[in-house]
């Protein structure tokens, strides 16, 4: 059995690409070292916010939002709108500068008056100096990602193997992947291993300058209704939303400890504390909230913080997709583009050459 494409990594990038490839008539298989969707795609904060997307990724994020809306209930999608807050003049200037650029890039972001903000979110602190609003913002439930894509793969008749780590890759006429469940043969491979891309590419002596960040998310006990939208901070150091069950999910990219190679990361009290302090500053009523749990996940990036999406440099038939900033938001869309590219079709929006010179800022 020789698959048309073997996909290594069953996160949102790998699963999304698999669906597109199968639609295009390919016989594909998805391999994951753990369970599907239990990497970054399963533990992230689930924020779908155009206000925290990079300007050049805005067209991808807009399309991503449309994908999430279409997935709807099955992924816990909610379009709530979202505010980004500035608490002093410096933050207000930062907010003005950043959100203006994002609005120019096509995101429906507007600046709102104090009154509008108070009406929208009455429990916010009085200390807000300026705020932006985006009606497109919202969230989905990351813990449903794996379950959702598993169902989709099954419906599409796509093979997948869990607990199936790829430990060696050989290439003669085809690719031969060594796994605990035997050798997998495929004409092409797609590396979609998230924060594990670097060691995976190294199996083929390709150096990808991938670094892993250890992002932290915290969930509180159930609280009375405190907010109805997604709340962020001008610096990006806070994202917060209240779920239908009353719990609040608090993130903002604060760093925990550990590396992907060592297994699960660890929470650092030193970074959770300022994260929660900022949340509590924004919504004072959070002062009485108890924390149920904090956890970490690994998010990959390269030095210029743009995606890797294209041909693996120097290896014909090998592709890579990962390192997407806001990859949960953009994942369902950019994985379609990747699928199209592998199918030999022209992607609707350009991809991001993994062989570029990262230092030169060639994007």
């Amino acid at each position: 059995m020789i698959y048309d494409t073997a996909i290594i990594g069953g996160g949102i990038m790998g699963c999304g690409s698999a669906l597109r490839l199968a639609q295009g008539g390919q016989r594909v298989i998805v391999l994951d070292q753990g369970d599907l969707g239990q990497g970054a795609s399963g533990v992230n904060a689930g924020t779908l916010s155009l206000q925290i997307k990079r300007v050049k990724l805005m067209p991808y994020a807009l399309k991503g939002h449309a994908c999430w809306e279409a997935m709807g209930k099955a992924v816990g999608f909610a379009k709530t709108g979202g505010y980004t807050l500035a608490f002093n003049a410096r933050e207000a200037a930062l907010l003005q500068e950043r959100q203006t650029l994002k609005a120019q890039a096509g995101a429906p972001i507007e600046f709102v008056s104090n009154n509008q903000l108070r009406n929208g979110e009455p429990n916010l602190t009085q200390q807000v100096v300026s705020a932006s609003y985006c009606a497109e913002d919202g969230y989905a439930n990351a813990s449903l990602t794996g379950q959702y894509y598993l169902g989709k793969l099954r419906d599409a008749g796509i093979e997948y193997r869990e607990r199936c780590e790829v430990t060696a890759i050989e290439r003669d006429k085809n690719f031969k992947l060594t796994t605990p469940q035997g050798t997998i043969n495929a004409t092409r491979i797609l590396l979609a291993a998230g924060a594990w891309l670097k060691p995976l590419a190294a199996l083929m002596d390709v150096h990808l300058p991938v670094q892993a960040r250890v992002n932290t998310v915290t969930v509180t006990e159930r609280m009375p209704p405190l907010m109805s939208t997604v709340i962020g901070h001008a610096t990006g150091l806070l994202t917060m939303k209240q779920k239908a069950n009353g719990t609040l999910l608090i993130g903002g990219g604060w760093q925990g400890l550990g590396t992907p190679q060592e297994g699960r990361g660890r929470v650092s009290v030193d970074t959770v504390r300022p994260n929660l302090a900022l949340a509590q500053y924004a919504v004072p009523a959070l002062g009485t909230a108890r924390i149920l749990r904090s956890w970490t996940g690994f998010e990959a990036n390269v030095p210029d913080f743009y995606p890797l999406a294209g041909v693996l440099p120097g290896v014909e038939g090998a592709y890579v997709l990962g390192c997407v900033r806001g990859g949960y938001t953009i994942g369902p869309y950019i994985s379609q583009l990747m699928g199209d590219y592998i199918l030999g079709r022209e992607p609707e929006l350009p991809l991001f050459d993994p062989g570029r010179d990262f230092k030169e800022g060639t994007i």
């Binding site: 159930r222 609280m223 009375p224 209704p225 009353g246 108890r290 149920l292």
Partner: protein, 95 residues
Amino acid sequence: MIRLVPNHALKIVRSAPVVFTFDGQSVEGHAGENLAGALLRAGRLHLRNAPANGGPRGAFCCMGLCQECTVRIDGQVVEACRTEVTQGLAVERAG
């Protein structure tokens, strides 16, 4: 009636009986026993009100996860299912 299995209840060795209070009312328990269990045995199922709609809530998961059993002890909100009973323990409704 014939008992087909041995009556294990008779084999339970209880620790010393103690008295604690729940919302000011005396409740009997045993030293070191689980607080949610002691309250359950005393028929005190309603431990708190749901934050969103005020509905009655009580121990559900009994393993420290659901937070439906939270009570206030010494000003701290704690899970009854993860607290041990002691003599004179003053337990209040959390809210």
